[in-house]
Subunit: 354 residues, 2 copies
């Protein structure tokens, strides 16, 4: 009998082919590719080589069907800072295609709108939910999810729910580090633009700023702090108050990139050069940061990684729950970093670029 021709493109290589090639059972191959123990090192090696040689890639559909772990997970977002969202999607997509889970993306209008989405999801049947900010910060949403007994995970939350895992950076520490960096650059009058007062992480960022100033023996002057709402426009407006003053700050730390970009626009409008006349820095390192000019110095969160990890945690949680065990939520903290671009400069230094 002739070998059946696969209808799949080129990928006719199955686990059986690999098994035959090595001379073991498919089961052993399965164990190797899933990284289980109880496989002799020698065997593992041989299988690995065969996988490499035959260019085998597991069929995710078959895998999730067989292992019954195909989960439907939903990502619910509101107030999409698109740039944040896209990075998030990138990370989550990668992970989901690796884990072979079905992703649904839903949007809603703020924490209030979540209820509707949840109802809809309940009808279609989801197994878990990923919550980016600002939803991840809402205890109301957390409660709703908990009531539905739906596992979820928060991404970039500063106030993680005690019931659900989360992945975030240390907002306080990050804001502290950025502020310290500005001080190190020689700045003493450092302005700050707060984010939405409802957000806990907004609060943390502010506290980090204050703490860094304090450590350097500086005081957080109220007149140097503006209130924003994480939008470009709010940064634009808040910056005006800060920058029209004669004794304006030499540096402004906006607590997200959108507001920093708005602040830069205001600086320009007031005839101030950035960074020559004023240093402006942001937070998040969304695509906004590198698409405006001058490109923003900012605090980078590894959003994509965080999202991937979050999904993994969620899947773990679901698995654990299905096994009937109780899940102890873990709260992962990722490292941030400070990316220095063209919007910041040491105090008093004449010019930087061109």
């Amino acid at each position: 009998m002739a070998r059946k021709v696969s209808r799949r493109g080129g990928n006719i290589v199955t686990i059986h082919d690999v098994a035959r090639h090595v001379g073991v059972s498919p089961m052993t191959v399965s164990r190797v590719i899933n990284g289980e123990k109880n496989v002799r090192e020698e065997t593992r090696q041989k299988v690995m080589e065969a996988v490499e040689a035959l260019n085998y890639t597991p069929n995710l559909a078959a895998r999730s069907l067989a292992s019954q772990d195909s989960s439907r997970i939903a990502l619910i977002y509101s107030n999409p800072s698109m740039s944040f969202l896209s990075e998030l999607l990138l990370g989550i997509l990668e992970q989901s295609s690796q884990s072979g889970c079905q992703l649904t993306i839903e949007s809603c209008d703020g924490p209030e709108g979540v209820a509707d989405v949840l109802d809809k999801l309940k009808a279609t049947g989801v197994d878990g939910v990923v919550l980016p900010p600002p939803l991840s910060d809402s205890s109301r949403v957390a409660k709703a999810l908990k009531d539905m007994k739906l596992p979820f995970v928060g991404v970039a939350t500063s106030r993680p729910s005690p019931d659900a895992p989360s992945v975030s950076v240390d907002d306080f520490k990050a804001a502290f580090a950025m502020t310290s960096r500005l001080i190190q650059l020689g700045h003493r009058r450092i302005g700050f633009i707060k984010g939405n007062p409802n957000s806990y992480y907004s609060q943390l960022r502010y506290e980090g700023y204050v703490a860094a100033l304090a450590k350097a023996g500086l005081m957080a002057e109220e007149t140097l702090v503006g209130q924003g709402y994480f939008t470009y426009r709010s940064g634009f407006d808040a910056a005006e108050t800060l920058l029209v003053r004669a004794d304006r700050p030499t540096a402004v730390f906006a607590s997200n990139d959108d507001m920093a970009a708005g602040a830069v626009a205001t600086a320009h409008r007031l005839g101030l050069d950035v960074p020559r006349d004023v240093t402006i820095v942001g937070f998040d390192d969304t695509s906004m940061a590198s698409s405006v000019w001058p490109e923003l110095t900012t605090v980078r969160q590894p959003i994509s990684d965080m999202a991937a990890l979050a999904l993994k945690l969620l899947l773990d949680q679901i698995k654990t729950r299905r096994a009937g065990q109780t899940y102890a939520p873990v709260h992962e903290i990722r490292d941030f970093s400070i990316v220095e671009r063209q919007s910041s400069a040491p105090l008093g230094e004449a010019s930087t670029t061109e």
Copy 2:
């Protein structure tokens, strides 16, 4: 024997349950949910009702395993205007989860870098590729894909490959429409900021602008046209040349949103109010358009829909090819629309908002 408890969350409903409920065979149910003919109307009705009643949703993993149509498709992007990308992702994701195909996202550095990515993909085995701009415009990439006999689809291409399907808007017509709108608002001196000269759609947008002017009996003055490269910075710079002149244009049409945002920044820097002193409009309606202030009037492309459709076309193509038939590429044109926000105003009108 006790009913086996499913390990899946809530979704224990299988095609068998539905079949039993109606009193038909699973096969019939399968036919109904896949919209095949050869099912009596009466039967179809009953099955539909049962599906509804039991809240059945097909298991995609099982489906794609059984039907052998699980395709791996890759989205390759370069020069990610993140905002564009994220909209694209949203659309493609939705479609892919419906179609049960595996998505991989790959990035590369311009058309030159595609070769490497392609090699990698070839190794892991993909069945098709989705190409957003600017890659979708590159005949070099198209050729490489064709040589590999790898099906692909272009999103937002103005110069579709004769061998592959594509989805796009009519860039010429859109630019024509926007320019006409500016004329209708009373503007006569209308500047234009071109995009990257390598992009064909950039060319088309420019031609649309010129044609609209011509139709209104206006001439496209060379001094009113700036050269940009689709980046914020390039719009920022190009706008300066246009706007410092005493006889500056009263409106500037930048051929994408990033450049328009850059132009707005320049206008502000020069002490011009937008839109009071100058109207500035963009193209694409990416998130950039609504995150800057004033929010940009722009040409909206339904990116998300286009991406979803593109994926569908790609999957069709793959299916057709597998069936051994020849595929005649279709080129879909989607409708654009003009979204008027705060960055445009009728000529001479004192103020608009606040």
